[in-house]
Subunit: 397 residues, 2 copies
Amino acid sequence: MLDELKVKRRHFLVGAAGAAGAAALGDAGVRAARAQEASGLPDYVSWKEPGAFIQHSPQTLETMRGEIGLSPLTPNDLVFVRNNLPSLTEEQVGDPEAWEVNVEGVAQPRPITLAELRTLGPETVACVLQCSGNGRGFFEHETSGSQWLTGAAANVSWTGVPVRTVVEAMGGVDGDKSFMTGTGGEPIPEGLDPLTVIVERSVPLEAQEVALLAWEMNGEPIPLAHGGPVRLVLPGYYGVNNVKHLKRLSFDETQSQADIQRSGYRVRPVGESGAPDQPSMYQMNVKSWVTHPLREAGTGRTQIWGVALGGTEDLDRVEVSTDGGETWEEARFVGPDLGRFAWRPFVLAADLAPGTHRIASRATTASGAAQPRDFEPNHRGYGHNGWDAHAVDVTVQ
Amino acid sequence: MLDELKVKRRHFLVGAAGAAGAAALGDAGVRAARAQEASGLPDYVSWKEPGAFIQHSPQTLETMRGEIGLSPLTPNDLVFVRNNLPSLTEEQVGDPEAWEVNVEGVAQPRPITLAELRTLGPETVACVLQCSGNGRGFFEHETSGSQWLTGAAANVSWTGVPVRTVVEAMGGVDGDKSFMTGTGGEPIPEGLDPLTVIVERSVPLEAQEVALLAWEMNGEPIPLAHGGPVRLVLPGYYGVNNVKHLKRLSFDETQSQADIQRSGYRVRPVGESGAPDQPSMYQMNVKSWVTHPLREAGTGRTQIWGVALGGTEDLDRVEVSTDGGETWEEARFVGPDLGRFAWRPFVLAADLAPGTHRIASRATTASGAAQPRDFEPNHRGYGHNGWDAHAVDVTVQ
């Protein structure tokens, strides 16, 4: 059962016996061993699980669908990677405690260091980190960008200080502002117009109510590949808004003029170019997908499991179909509920007869928002949550 | 601020610049770099965070107190290591899916593989994993065994199948049984009486109500160092009862005759030898400790944080004292509540004047069980939860 096998180099395949051990473990083992022999991961993420990713590019690593189990959080070494600019190096960061965020658009604007952020009241929030393009590979029209399937998503615990606490410490927002803008600290390559490459995102002002300036990710300092030492975390918002290596947090009357805000991450009909008057990729929609089984199952009782998220809302239920959506049965949630911004693993037991079964899942939020069967195409292939495209065909021998 | 610095080789100290980068980060950095250059960890746990452990022996690695932050779970690479026998190698395990647990003392006893365990209804439980001897180093009398301070404890999410589900699938417990016994799969060294070394623990039958046969730890297959591929997990019970590499699960009228059960892990007065009529280290008591700050703090506002556990009960509150227990203030819990078997991070803001402050924490459960100031000595130094010994002296310049 390909998707059930989890071959971890660090835990099982230590040393020369690796490949042999892997072969004994079947396809997944062989695949993992191959990935390891090729030391498949770029240096800056070499600490991640070698066999667990689909590498679209050195900046875009997708977590394999079957790697997600029934735990409440996704361990850092399984979290997908997607960077618009190369991550900072530790030489570029220097002493993380001295890292400064320039806060602007408040009554008393000033830089604040990570060391000082630690002296303000901390909070911990568990939330889904998901790329706007997660599911792009399921669209039928031609799309540019990484062809993510389900693996540009993770459930992460972030610890930091609420933005509203920082703002209060600086006398509050200065006057009438409509947006909160985060700017990343990545150096701008020589000779390029900064606006064409800088990672700078503006979100509606109310986002400050849930936002954190975070320094801890799943119990460790935020790895540089994930935006350490300080990252802007916006629970319920797509990944791009969670600005990495945060150097500037500003409250403004207008949105950033950077391309990534002005024309990027805009939802529009296929064939149209991006423009500021189109909806931006802000809050996530309700979504779920099965992570086990994915291809094969034994005869008799099978446990079908996966994960579901409500976007910004609590989930009401997840239903699972084993006949491609003809009939549905309610699944049960497994493990602790980490709150409305987190995903919840679910499970349903099924007795599958020999043959091929189309397994789908469909989540519904407390307010009744549900995944559609199909999701309308959009030019860049953002936000796909259609349950039919996310279904898997599982064969029982 | 020594305890605040988190120098992660994999995230910050990649390559030759490591030591230099570390030096720039102060004592903690230097310590971490040294640990890394000495590649401080034994091979079987080389995937763990090099700078994060106190190594008492190759089989006993303690998580440094300041490594525990405000996240709900402890990442695997920070979880302490304590093995009574060397962990199995992947060659000894072979195909994890084919790993068998022999279930005895049920109506239809038989071996069951991990692959089959996956077909039964899974559950996920978050619970504290804590060595019976955690805190041993705080006793004033002479004790044998690792001198653990606070770091033989972690908060872990386990996924597996409830023991009661397995028992039901095998026709229920056969007749009148008083104990559930787990046996580890470690090979017995040549020429030794198995009873003197085998890891075999019996717990009261009612423990089956909360027990899991687990295969997933914090979202990954259970690492061999932590008892994979299948471990018996007993939420609320001390670590030793959570038998690693589980090969046998038996329901019995009497307890195991293995030394680890008969005379080991028995609570008795200092100077007495262990015997079956003494209390065994089963369920954990209420406990808490501060993890930040530990030695120094800046002037002005300081956030004091740590973790608290109720053993088998929900927590009612945690109080923090900055004057060695003269006065107490209630702390607030941070982040999601993972249930009665898990620990909860807590935080309290304090304005500390220049000088040295004795910071202590004291947890109380829903039923009113509270940490004592002092904990009565016992021969092996088990179960210390006295708040005074766990206090830290923090200097403000």
